[in-house]
């Protein structure tokens, strides 16, 4: 942030600290007086919700780690010990498992918001790419965390996902052996997944700091997609954004609590309550719901290597969004054609998720292929062309004009 801080601490103690480590000033300028567009809707509260969920996952995770044993013979039993013996262990486990689902729910809303309003466009490209990196780290962390339970789904998910790397020509098998630390998924694999599962959330936290820094340099996008032009277009973060974030966070936590206390196993798979058996693969292997769309894309393609490439590409392609979308208009509010393709894209993503949970046969395969084609076409064909051919609606003159009318 440029300019001198307006922070004037009242107490002598705070003044003393401010001269030596201006953390009060940093918090003040970043989260108190920081100007935020006045027209943000509740979709903009999900960044704060995500930061909160990261905190929840780290705290519950650290506490669970006090009771978990990362050994193939003891892991499953230690998780059951947490559920049955540890004081409030059942609560901590359900908070952590359902917290992961809520974390992903929030991140998908956050990402769809970004796509709809063009928040990835200049000058927010780095902000967006940092977000993609955070998303990839979240996927790795979530996957490894699920393996730690060492149930049937844990073990076979580990086997399937690590085997993806065998598709790489030449070095594939060497890489897989290296990942496993053995000739199959086993104790070395479990141990290293535990170490990395504990590590990555702190890496995520570091990238989140960069993400928020990048955000504060360029400022928030807003539903009109036009930048604030004067002070009339913005309000101070505290109390407006603080309270708005707090309110929706409370609503989000109510939904979270609904899962934790009433349907804690709804989003999970019953087979993961069966201890891992390396000799028997469950008939119906599926990942957790937040990976299902990518699972559908992987299975839609009959070739092993191309399927793996498609899986990776479906996530990495997000990083190129700022350059794939050629439109000069940011927000879908003023892009009627883009808006329709966007909602179709949302339906396709949800549809791919549903298809990922189905056995790869018959109509499901056909639909998965159609949806996969649309998924990639959205990024590679539709967005580039829309920028050239779409007739956009006229933009308002300013944010306050769009909110208050011409009298602003």
């Amino acid at each position: 942030m440029s300019g001198h801080s307006t922070y004037q601490p009242q107490s002598k103690v705070l003044q003393w600290l401010e001269k030596r480590l201006p953390i009060g000033g940093l918090v003040h300028s970043s989260f108190v007086v920081y100007p935020v567009p006045r027209n943000l809707n509740y979709l903009w509260t999900f960044g704060g919700i995500l930061a909160f969920m990261l905190g929840v996952q780290i705290v519950t995770g650290i506490v669970l780690a006090m009771h978990y044993t990362p050994h193939v013979d003891l892991a499953f039993r230690s998780v059951e010990g947490i559920m049955r013996d540890v004081n409030y262990g059942w609560l901590l486990r359900y908070l952590h498992a359902n917290g992961a689902s809520m974390f992903f729910l929030a991140v998908y809303v956050h990402m769809f918001r970004g796509i709809y309003y063009g928040s990835y466009k200049e000058p927010r490209e780095v902000l967006w790419i940092l977000g993609v990196i955070i998303y990839l780290l979240m996927m790795a962390t979530g996957f490894m965390g699920y393996v730690l339970v060492w149930g049937q789904m844990s073990f076979w998910a580990a086997t399937v996902i690590t085997n993806l790397f065998s598709a790489i020509p030449g070095v594939g098998d060497t890489i897989v052996t290296w990942l496993w630390g053995g000739y199959a998924v086993g104790n070395p694999t479990l141990n290293r997944f535990y170490s990395l599962h504990y590590l990555l959330p702190f890496v995520i936290a570091g990238v989140v700091v960069l993400h928020i820094w990048a955000l504060h340099v360029v400022g928030q996008n807003n539903p009109t997609g036009i930048e604030p032009k004067s002070e009339k277009d913005t309000v101070a973060f505290t109390p407006y954004a603080t309270v708005k974030d707090g309110f929706f966070l409370a609503a989000f936590v109510i939904l979270y609590a609904w899962f934790v206390f009433y349907i804690p196993n709804f989003l999970g798979h019953a087979d993961n309550y069966i201890p891992a058996n390396p000799a028997v693969t469950p008939t119906h292997i599926v990942p957790e719901w937040y990976y299902l769309p990518f699972y559908a894309i992987l299975r839609a393609i009959p070739d092993k290597l191309i399927g793996v490439i498609a899986l990776g590409a479906s996530i990495v392609i997000l990083a190129f969004l700022p350059w794939l979308d050629t439109s000069r208009v940011r927000s879908a509010r003023y892009r009627p054609l883009f808006r329709q393709f966007f909602w179709l894209f949302v339906i396709v993503c949800v549809g791919l998720g549903w298809l990922g949970s189905k056995p790869p046969e018959g109509i499901y395969v056909i639909l998965a292929r159609v949806f996969t084609i649309y998924y990639f076409a959205f990024f590679l064909v539709i967005l580039p062309l829309l920028g050239i051919f779409e007739k956009t609606k006229p933009l308002p003159n300013s944010i306050s004009e769009s909110v208050l009318g011409a009298k602003a």
Partner: protein, 175 residues
């Protein structure tokens, strides 16, 4: 932030304070399971249930060591000489005055049951050593007598007594 100049409280003040209170209560409530989970869990407590020890195989003059709640317990089948030494002492002159009768069960003078942890800094004292015919702690030189009482050295208190009772003449239940 706009300020209210008058002394009257506005609805905003009420909302801020109410939210703050609910938030503080929520934060405190959230802390409860996080702190409680570090207390011994149900399996640890179950493993600490009372144990029965059969005294019949313990010979006269023999001391055995059992574990209860992860603590070493000395069970000493005292000889006549050891019992006399324990009872003859001038209790008032002891660093931690306690008569021998308070450290054994009535009618069972020959059985001394103590927690085998030196009351200084926690080492396990060695039996049948030291000048008092009891235990000697090699860590810092504390010496205990045949009643497990501290006689010399840095330990402040006598060897602690676990809760126990005689279920028969040849069996005790510790815990």
């Amino acid at each position: 932030m706009t300020t209210v100049s008058s002394a009257e409280h506005t609805r905003r003040d009420f909302l801020y304070i109410a939210t703050g209170v609910v938030g503080a209560v929520g934060a405190a409530a959230a802390l409860v399971p996080l702190i409680a989970q570090m207390n011994p869990d149900a399996s640890t407590i179950a493993a600490g249930a009372p144990i029965d020890v059969d005294l019949a195989p313990i010979a006269d003059g023999q001391i055995i060591k059992v574990f209860w709640r992860s603590k070493p317990i000395f069970i000493s089948h005292r000889t006549k000489k050891e019992i006399e030494e324990a009872q003859k002492v001038n209790v008032a002159a002891l660093p931690d005055p306690e008569p021998d009768s308070a450290r054994v069960k009535p009618g069972h003078d020959q059985w001394l049951v103590v927690i085998g942890i030196c009351t200084h800094l926690g080492c396990i004292p060695l039996p049948h050593q030291g000048e008092y015919d009891g235990w000697f702690c090699p860590c810092h030189g504390s010496q205990y007598d045949t009643s497990g009482r501290i006689r010399r050295g840095p330990a402040p208190k006598n060897l602690a007594l676990p809760p126990y009772k005689f279920v028969s003449d040849t069996k005790i239940q510790i815990g």
